[in-house]
Amino acid sequence: MTAPDDSGAPAAPGARPSKPMEVAVAAVALAGFAVVFLLARGIELRVETGGIDPRWWPQVLGATGAALSAVLLGRAVVGAPARREGVQEATRDGRVRTVLVVALAALYVVAWPLAGFVVATPVFLAAGAYLFGGRGWAALLAFPVGLTALLYLLFHSVLEVPL
């Protein structure tokens, strides 16, 4: 099957294949499943029955995952790095923006119970909009206050979720 290529689409650059990344990811997966296997062996049971007990399935999964990860690691070390079709190249600004958004979201989740939904949410929205390039009263005042009011009305008043 061939997709047409003369559509004039704005082509976003695809992410470059990366051998170190492939090796690191496979190694992390291998280590993770090995930990699962070991933790599964240490599960405490109220009644020891042996055989197919509650430890058995997590151990099977840990071992299977470790075996698959080992194959992935071997391929990553020996073979060419996999193509990253469908993944676009990250920008420098994008990395900074994403880290800041994760930090902002974490801060909001901490501040919500302390300051209350009605106070913390407009501040969070205004900060988010600013971070994403919004400027002016509509983006930094009207939008945060309006969306906060809408969500408060929907969740607190209509759905009776204590915010």
Partner: protein, 495 residues
């Protein structure tokens, strides 16, 4: 007859109508904004619907599902950017048509064949779901385990470039499902003294994180301002009689492809659209026009991707195995409402099946009506700045997740899943198998252990249905590998 009347009567409640309108509005908008996928929107909306009654909640989620199938065609045709992955093939001929001054014709034709595709697929749901469920009711533990393995295998085979990475993702999902109490003995596993973990990981939070927040983070990472604007000249709207005739054959081809792909677990509109477009091109008298603004190409792609909906519903409701990514998310919501999709659903809640079919048909017809009258105005929404969209989505994810348990612990799980999800996406690990593993893990484990304890390992190969499903699972995993090896050999031969 009573079942039918009860199912339809449940839809006459005014609150259901309100939910229907909200879902349709959200679905259309979701489809319209590139990057906001149907599964992301349904995951996000699931947080809002958990306090509703099942029919109300389904009215919201199913109409989003349907509405997104209309909205996503608009940016595909006007700015060459698929609103959701299901509209990728729409860009092949939709955008060239728009550049030729036939955007209005493309939009209207697309809406009509999308409606036709959905209605056609609902015939499949109405006629096939019950017999499939009755067959599945005969399943014992070995068959149920094999069915889950089959579902996971197909999800792995269709949801990424690497089968190996898909398998690892699936196993990771099954591992996550073991957190909490053992499904048979009730012993605590991987709880580490944290009380909240006793009931397992909150799967709605994980789903919102992996599908919604991870997608948002990925857009933040890769966003570049681009200058393509929606076209201002849309041209004529209605097809001529000869154009209707031209659409008939690709509609049939797309419909068949869509229904078959829809029934396959985990395969959705994106795959069906591409296959439908390709099949129609091979069968067309004018294949050279495909990709250059062919109405046949547009018809085949949109019919195929929309005709998957009924098939996906059939697999989900009759077998409890998600027909596509949206259905995986919807199963999570249904479990929270106390409804376990699967064969027994047809004996316990038969009227719910009628309500579901009714919601889907109404949503398709109303969406068509909206598509035919509103397109000019809604096109302007494509210019909405990202800072509103991104901030709003993130906040809705957070608040929606919080609403599932009224506990910020769930929000932390969602954020962590979002970070893990974006790392997985960028490293080539598909999120679908993780979610499927998490949802179906307890079913797989309890049935496998029962099968082994009752009849021993031989039950997995001596029962014909179980053995058949396991063979199909193996073929689903091996098939793509064989296909890729053949393609590589062909390429080497050409050189």
């Amino acid at each position: 007859m009573t079942v039918f009347v009860d199912g339809i009567a449940a839809l006459l409640d005014p609150t259901v109508a309100a939910c229907f309108v909200v879902g349709l509005l959200v679905g259309t908008l979701v489809g319209l904004f590139p990057g906001v996928t149907g599964s992301m929107a349904v995951a996000l909306a699931s947080g809002f619907t958990l306090t509703l009654e099942p029919v109300q909640g389904l009215a919201v989620l199913l109409t989003i599902y349907v509405g997104a199938n209309y909205g996503d065609r608009i940016p595909s045709i006007l700015v060459n950017t698929p609103g959701t992955p299901a509209a990728i093939a729409t860009t092949f001929d939709g955008y060239p048509m728009a550049r030729q001054g036939r955007a209005g014709l493309a939009l209207v034709s697309s809406a009509m064949v999308t409606t036709g595709g959905i209605l056609l697929s609902m015939v499949l749901f109405v006629t096939a779901a019950r017999p499939v469920a009755q067959l599945a009711l005969e399943f014992g533990p070995a068959e149920m385990f094999a069915l889950v393995v089959f579902g996971l295998a197909v999800m792995v085979s269709v949801s990424g470039d690497s089968v190996l990475k898909g398998l690892i993702a699936g196993v990771a999902g099954l591992v996550l499902a073991t957190v909490g109490r053992d499904p048979i003995t009730g012993d605590a596993r991987f709880v580490f003294g944290v009380n909240d973990l006793n009931s397992g990981l909150p799967f709605i939070a994980v789903i919102i994180g992996l599908f919604g927040v991870a997608e948002l983070f990925d857009q933040l990472l890769t966003h570049r301002p681009h200058t393509v604007k929606p076209l201002s000249s849309l041209g004529r709207w209605w097809p001529t009689r000869s154009e209707y005739r031209q659409m008939a054959r690709p509609f049939g081809v797309g419909g068949v492809v869509g229904m078959v792909v829809g029934v396959v677990p985990a395969a959705g509109g994106d795959i069906a659209g591409l296959i439908g477009w390709d099949r129609a091109k091979r069968l067309s008298r004018e294949p050279e026009r495909f990709g250059k603004g062919s109405l046949e190409g547009l018809t085949a792609a949109d019919t195929a991707s929309s005709a998957t909906l009924g098939g996906s519903l059939t697999t989900t409701m009759a077998l409890g195995i998600p027909g596509d990514a949206v259905m995986a998310v919807m199963i999570g919501s249904m479990i929270i409402w106390g409804i376990q999709p699967g064969p027994s659903l047809f004996t316990r809640n038969p009227e719910l099946m009628v309500s579901i079919a009714g919601i889907m048909v109404m949503a398709a017809l109303v969406s068509l009506a909206i598509s035919l009258v509103r397109t000019r105005g809604i096109v302007r929404l494509l210019d909405l700045p990202n800072h509103y969209l991104w901030s709003g989505i993130l906040l809705c994810c957070i608040v929606g997740t919080y609403a599932t348990t009224n506990n910020t612990y769930t929000v932390w799980v969602m954020l962590a899943s979002g970070v893990v999800g974006v790392v997985m996406k960028r490293c080539g690990f598909p999120p679908g198998p993780v979610v499927l593993g998490l949802l179906l893990g307890p079913l797989a484990e309890s049935n496998l252990r029962r099968a082994l304890l009752i009849d021993g390992p031989s039950s997995l190969v001596s029962q014909p249905i179980a053995a058949g499903l396991l063979v199909l699972a193996l073929l689903a995993l091996v098939g793509p590998l064989v296909g890729r090896a053949r393609a590589a050999r062909r390429r080497a031969g050409v050189r």
